[in-house]
Amino acid sequence: MVMLNLLLILLAGGFLALLCERIDKSLPRIVALAVIIAALIYLITSISGLSALNALQASTPSDPSSWFMHFKTPWIPAFGIHIELALDGISLLMILLTLLLGAVAVSASWTDIQYRQGVFEANLLWTLAGVLGVFMALDLFLFFLFWEIMLIPMYFMIAIWGHENRGYAAMKFFIFTQASGLLMLVAILALVAVNREVTGVYTFSYFDLLQTKMDETTAYWLMLGFFISFVVKLPGFPFHTWLPDAHTQAPTAGSVILAGILLKTGAYGLIRFAVPLFPDASMHFAPVAMLLGIVGIIYGAIAALSQTDFKRLVAYSSVSHMGFILLGVYAWNTLALQGAIMQMIAHGFSTAALFMIAGALQERLHTRDMREMGGLWQQMPRMGAVAMFFIIAALGLPGLGNFVAEFLILLGVFQINEWMAVAGAMGLITGAVYSLILMQRSFQGQPNTHSDKLPLADFGPREMLTMSLMMIALIALGLYPQPILDVSQTALGGLLDSTALGITQ
């Protein structure tokens, strides 16, 4: 019930934000923030009493009773479709990240949304609800539903509140995800059909479908359907081209949610569905996936270097960082998977912060073009220092969360294939190149004649509070990641065991 309530809080909160716009234009953002914080408190109080979580009890993927939470009620019985939600270590971490970054996103758009604030905040909350659903739904039909639901409010956020080229970007975002979602739908239906041939019953439940027996070719094709859908979302090379446009054109809150949370649904899908449902096929495919990951790391980093748009540069850096996740997931061992999950969280914070800085710059300078920036540190030392922190975090300074993530991924990959790890490690060099250029072009160097004349306000208390929280989070992740590692370990152990069994069968 907790999980269902969580979804209802966000959905109802969206309507509330929508309605109270009529009372006061500044009310929706307060409502949105309050709703997210309420959801967060509700979640934390509900999980703090879970004995399985406190004891860090390991869960088995195929046995829902071993998960932290499980909820199942019939929905369309004729086709074996249920409203089935469940929570294990991985989904718990993702949900916490979603709510935290949701709050950040509201804070990020505190002042820059001037048009229909109520509708905006409603869309924001509904996107979060969709994402939460994706992280919790374990009925494949329901999962697909949420997968599509989170898309629509996001589309509106880009298409209505986006920047100059928003129509194109929103459409591109929609078509890429929609087309790839279709592949997943076909794969889901085929999987259910194959399962019915063996067992004689229709079921969409993840827990039932896990043990589906099928021949190699079928498994391979179905796996590809899931894979492509998730990798488009991740995004992995060569399906990443929607991302720079969507990121650049989205309003700040949209970029924060997009980069911080939405991309992670792709990574989550790979870990939760693509590999466990088709372990053998995935292992055969792993070298290709890892190669795509490496190409993404390098390609994103090189393309980032030549960008002139602040947000576009950060968007390409996301492509590079997501490449690490793809590489790590398909190494499929404890270290690499721990690294991939850590990367989702750390990248969520560091990139959200950078997009927030981009948004703050756009609000003040009315441009994202770095050729019109330069020397901004002088006027906005606080913002400069914050930007420096997150850029250094993003380039993987040990002691901050992103390093732990990349180190674990590379270590895990190294144990599978040294050369892939070496190739991935090149991303540490290329990452440094574009990160430092970003800093140079915006905050350092000679002040631009255009920006020098504007009276630029430095970060205020609201922004500093948000940023400080994320800084503390990254430092904590970097120096003492153990709580996170422990929680994800409860799910990873069983996951690795079950897929290993699949391979030997």
């Binding site: 030549s306 020397g375 540490l428």
Partner: protein
């Protein structure tokens, strides 16, 4: 006391954080007090630990917490102190304190006083973690930490984009080495299952035997990190440019401490290097080659800081030579004496730059002997130690390296000879500097006197540059013994006299007006050679052509997302199909009937072909 050793890096770290948070609310005086005081206190505590160590020299390990634990991977945040760590800590906090004190006056007119001390304190903390770390992952944390601080301080005056470029170059070039080192860590962790340095050395010695390929690969990867950080060929090109930072920063980071981290790393993992003779040879040859190349370049520079920068590269080359021939103690000894005299020289040059309206060109200086006496004596003592003139600190350490290199079987005498040539050039360029800057006619008049905060560090470092040679380092338990056989007497006599010859040559060449030499240097050949040397052997140009430019070209090619051309093609294809299909909706009845008939016939035809019985 030693159980609280974590307090030593914590002090400057806390001070740094405080300076960042409260920078706008602190007066200059309290900034200086906090910035200098925290390092001073760290130095006092280090001294206390060192005193305790004299009576009881058992190494101590202090574990704070487990960094992360996944299966067998369990690196800890844990410190380890033995003789080697202690020597490094004394240098870092001692010399570091003096440089902080010097900075409090040097930077007094700067707008970002607090930011400066915040970075500098952070650097001290990171450097202390580097040497205190008991495992290679924590060492790597310190290693990258000092790299970032170096980046921040080289680009401290960020409004000039040239400084930004120098800072980025420093960071990225060293990052190339760091990445090699990280891969080395991955290899060691995968093969030997631990990163704890002592366990690692033990397991390595048990599991690998001398001459195996894995230890060689591991050593070479670690060496990659070392040559990046310690500015050895071919990754040394960042150091001369890094002189863009404030001069005390060059003294602290780019002379006394950070650039010697590579030497520390190799000394720390010497058991591993002993397993790989070929890696040892590589270390020695890189060292001596870098040393000669950089010394030759220092000879023709005209920027006072660049001379010192190349000199640093060259001197670290000597340390690498020492490590490569297994003269561990000599290498660390030279690290320490070099920290004293090179910090002295950098601070001396800082004093000159401070008093001479930021002038860097030595040919615009001159006659400063009488005008800046304290600086003159500092420079004289520092240069004497750099040139390894007898009785100075540099003499003892460099002599030790050369003699031990000589004793090396096979190519020992060759290394010794090359080292001597380097010593000769070193003596020439260091006294060229002294003669040009302090003698002759004054070309620029100093506009101020240096205060006590600058004079005191200079004086203390002068003393250390002389008596430092008599220190005995507590390294007997750390390194294996080297054979103490004495080389022939003539070797020692030559080793001592070559630097004196160098000073003499410098006197002939650069003291006062020397028309003959001037005309000789104007010949085209000498000019061209000089040009070649001055540019740092054109290495920047080469790297620019083979790496930087192609990388930028590639980046520019990707700027507009070439992959999108493919998706755009799909879009165009769709549009074309759309156009053709919508053209069929012409509204003409005749066309519709025709197409329906054709469709019907085709369908029937196909049906008859496939299932003739059905119709």
């Amino acid at each position: 006391m030693r159980d609280f050793v974590w307090f030593i890096p914590l002090l400057p770290l806390a001070s740094s954080v405080l300076l960042m948070i409260a920078s706008s609310r602190l007066t200059r005086r309290s900034v200086a007090l906090l910035g200098v005081g925290s390092v001073g206190l760290a130095a006092v505590l280090t001294g206390a630990v060192a005193l305790e160590f004299l009576s009881d020299s058992t190494p101590v390990e202090v574990t704070l917490w487990t960094w992360m634990k996944i299966d067998s991977l369990a690196p800890r945040i844990s410190f380890y102190i033995d003789g080697l760590t202690l020597v490094m800590m004394c240098v870092i906090t001692g010399v570091g304190f003096l440089i902080h004190l010097f900075s409090s006056e040097f930077m007094q007119d700067d707008d970002s006083y607090a930011r400066y001390f915040a970075y500098l304190n952070m650097f001290i903390a990171a450097m202390l973690i580097l040497v205190l770390a008991d495992n290679l992952l924590l060492l790597y944390l310190g290693w990258e930490g000092v790299g970032v601080c170096s980046y921040l301080l080289v680009g401290f005056w960020y409004r000039d984009s040239a400084n930004g470029r120098a800072a980025r170059k420093a960071f990225i070039v060293t990052r190339i080495g760091d990445t090699a080192m990280l891969i080395g860590l991955l290899l060691l962790l995968t093969e030997l299952g631990t990163l704890n340095i002592r366990t690692l050395m033990q397991v390595a010695s048990e599991q690998w035997s001398i001459g195996d390929s894995l230890p060689t690969i591991a050593c070479l990867l670690l060496l990659g990190g070392a040559i990046g950080k310690s500015a050895q060929f071919p990754l040394h090109t960042w150091l001369p440019d890094a002189m863009a930072g404030p001069t005390p920063v060059s003294a602290l980071i780019h002379a006394a401490t950070m650039v010697t981290a590579g030497v520390y790393l190799i000394a720390r993992t010497h058991d591993l290097f002993l397993l790989s003779p070929s890696a040892m040879h590589t270390v020695a040859f890189i060292g001596i080659a870098t040393s000669l190349m950089a010394a030759g370049t220092a000879l023709v520079q005209s920027d006072i800081k660049r001379i010192l920068a190349y000199s640093t590269i060259s001197q670290i080359g000597y340390m690498f030579l020492a490590l490569g021939v297994g003269a561990w103690t000599a290498g660390v000894f030279h690290l320490m004496t070099h920290a004293f005299f090179k910090a002295l020289l950098f601070l001396g040059s800082g004093a000159i730059i401070h008093c001479l309206h930021h002038e860097h060109n030595i040919f615009k200086m001159g006659g400063l002997r009488t005008r800046m006496p304290i600086t003159f004596w500092s420079f004289l003592i520092g240069s004497a130690a750099l040139a390894a003139l007898p009785m100075t600190a540099g003499f003892f350490s460099k002599d030790l390296i050369l003699l031990q290199a000589y004793q090396r079987p096979d190519f020992g005498p060759w290394l010794w000879g090359a080292g001597l040539l380097g010593a000769l050039i070193t003596a020439i360029y260091s006294f060229r500097l002294v003669f040009i800057v302090f003698f002759g006619d004054a070309k620029t008049e100093p506009d101020r006197e240096i205060g006590w905060q600058m004079a005191l560090p200079l004086t203390v470092l002068c003393a250390l540059s002389i008596i430092g040679g008599y220190f005995s380092l507590p390294l007997a338990d750390v390194f294996p013994l080297v054979n103490a056989e004495h080389p022939p007497h003539w070797v020692e006599i030559i080793s001592i006299s070559v630097p004196l010859l160098g000073v003499f040559l410098a006197y002939i060449g650069f003291y006062g007006q020397r028309p003959r030499i001037d005309s000789w240097t104007k010949t085209p050949l000498v000019q061209r050679v000089g040009q070649f040397l001055r540019s740092g052997w054109r290495l920047d140009e080469v790297f620019d052509r083979i790496a930087v430019k192609p990388y930028y070209n590639l980046a520019n090619a990707l700027q507009n997302e070439p992959i999108d051309r493919f998706y755009e093609a799909i879009v165009r294809l769709n549009q074309a199909i759309h156009r053709h299909l919508s053209a069929t909706q012409s509204g003409r009845m005749r066309w519709y009937i025709t197409s329906m008939m054709v469709g019907l016939i085709a369908t029937l035809g196909v049906a008859m072909k496939i299932a003739p019985g059905a119709i």
